[in-house]
Symmetry: C2
Amino acid sequence: MFKLYEYSPSGNCYKVRLLLTQLNIAFDRTEINILQKQSRTPEFLVKNPNGRIPVLEIEPGKFLFESNAIMFYLSEKTEFFPSDRFERAQVMQWLFFEQYSHEPYIATSRFWISVLGKADEYKEALQQKQAPGYAALGVMEQHLEKNDFFVGDRYSIADIGLFAYTHVAGEGGFDLTGFPAIQSWIDRVKSQPRYIGITD
Amino acid sequence: MFKLYEYSPSGNCYKVRLLLTQLNIAFDRTEINILQKQSRTPEFLVKNPNGRIPVLEIEPGKFLFESNAIMFYLSEKTEFFPSDRFERAQVMQWLFFEQYSHEPYIATSRFWISVLGKADEYKEALQQKQAPGYAALGVMEQHLEKNDFFVGDRYSIADIGLFAYTHVAGEGGFDLTGFPAIQSWIDRVKSQPRYIGITD
C-alpha cells in the first residue's frame, strides 16, 4: 500500500491526498511535523534528500518527492492526465507555472500568516509577495475566462495542482473578490466526484 | 518548423536549444530581449500570458511555455526520457526540484551578477540566495556521488534541466570547488553527442 509522508495543512500534501482519494486508491498517512523540523532528520533525509514533504513511498524503500511529480506518477494513464501529446505537455506547463510563479508567493504567505501565525513578524516579506501572487492569479483568471478547466476542457492534475493553494489564498492575505472566473472554477473543482476538502 | 522565442543568455532557453540540437531537430530562433521588457508586450503575452521566455511555437498559433514542460513535450518517446513509469516520475521530480529549490537561487544570482552586472545593487539579496543555493548543490552532490546521471543511470532531460544553471553557477557567485561529483557530472554532460555550449 502507498504510504504518504505529509504535513496535513500543506497544500502540496493535500494535492496528493485529493488525487489518491479521487483515484479510489487506499493509502497510509504518516504525519511529519515540519514545525518541529521532522523533515530534516537523518531518517527523513533518506526519503527525500531535499528535506521536504510530501514524499510518497511506493513500495518499501522506494520513494518519490515533489508533489507535482507524485501526481504525474499516480495519474498517468488515468482520466486525470490527458492522452494527447500536446495536452500532456500543457498539464506540465501549468504545474511548473504553479511551482515557480504561484506557490512561492501564495503558499508561502499562507504559511506565515495561517500556519505559523506570524503575520506581524513577516509583514515586510508578505508585502513583497503581494504583486507576484496577484500576477499569478491574473494569469489564471484570464485563462479561466475562456476555459472551464486548465487543459483540454477537462478536470486534470493541472487543476488539482493550482486549486490546492488558490482556494485557500485568503488564508495568505489574497482577496479573490476581483477574480470571478477563478471563483467559478473553484466551485467546479469542489463539485468533482470524490472531492475532499483540505481539512477533511 | 518549431520556433523558439528566447533570450539567449537564459539557462532556461539554453535547455531547449541543447535538447533540440541533440534531438537533431531544426528550429527557428527569435530573440526576445527581456531587459527591454519584450516579453511583456501585448503581442508576446498572447504567446505566454505569464510574460516569460522560453516559448516554443509548435505550429502557427500553438504555443507552449515553461522550459521543463517544453523539454517534456520534445523528449517523450525519445532516448532522453525514460520508458519506465517510476523513472519517468523521477525525471519530473528532479525537474520540479530544479525550478523550486535551485533556479530561484542560482539562476537569479547569475542574472543579477552576470547579465545585469549589478552585484553591488543586489548585494544583500545575493547574500540571502547563498545558503539555499548551496543546499541545492549539496542535494545534487549527494546524488551524484552514487550515480552517474540523475535518473536510471542514463543521460535524460533531468540532467539537461539541472545542468543549464549548474555549469554556470560560478557566474552567480557559487563556487563548485567543494562539489567534485558535480564537476565530474558536468564533464559527462559536456561529452554527450551533439552537445552545444550555452554561448554557442
